[in-house]
Subunit: 139 residues, 2 copies
């Protein structure tokens, strides 16, 4: 069985020796990013402590960029991996008018999102990509 994160072909926002940052193409959640460990590892506690710190440092950098550029109401962080047990973190900007607010994005939709609001958020994505790359290049 092929792991879809091992076989990842989409161009990441940033790729390093051990992990990558990708922009998730979710119509309802512009700014949704993932931090993906390059190797096929299942749980955070399967990684050595220094590698766990490396992963979380990337998550914090992406969270900072998301907060700065996307100005969300809240950031949601999650590492689930039930269907794809290849370590990855979801970093999701949340807004009071988004499809599932205040529930997690995996709950049934609560509303349709105003297309104009989504368009304004999508317009920030090039700036988000730049902000993530800048942070990821910093030690």
């Amino acid at each position: 069985m092929t792991c879809e994160l091992c076989a990842l072909t989409a161009e990441p926002l940033w790729r390093g020796a051990k992990l990558s940052v990708i922009a998730v193409d979710d119509a309802n959640y512009p700014g949704f990013c993932r931090v993906v460990w390059n190797a096929h590892v299942k749980e955070m506690t399967d990684l050595a402590p220094a590698d766990r710190a490396l992963v979380m440092d990337a998550v914090w950098k992406v969270e900072e960029a998301v907060r700065e550029v996307m100005e969300p109401q809240k950031v949601n962080l999650a590492s689930l991996g039930n269907m794809t047990p290849h370590l990855h973190w979801h970093v999701i900007p949340r807004y009071a008018d988004d499809a599932q607010w205040p529930s997690p994005v995996w709950a049934p939709a609560a509303r349709e999102v105003n297309p104009a609001a989504l368009e304004l958020r999508r317009a920030r994505l090039p700036r988000l990509a730049a902000a993530i790359r800048t942070r990821m290049e910093q030690a």
Copy 2:
């Protein structure tokens, strides 16, 4: 408005100067734990880097204890806080026969869980509490 995590009255499994570990009373998810930052802080990136590391060290300790004692198929980690913007991490043991598998626990239920399986998991909770306390007392 009172924050329910600031006003927390339930006895935690462990309480330290900066954070606490609590057992979540969820009938479908025995072994579900939370790591709660004691002060009312909203996002991980609102904490100083050393405090972020302290939080994640606690999350890894709880994850290790959950893996050792509960023997889940997968561990799910999440920091959401849309409804309660007071920093807390969910650490959730997941099983192929649980109510939402393989979806996140916030998705609609996919099945009723076998009561005997739940009973066997609940029987491990005292051992889980001891394993968490032992790890949290270690530097």
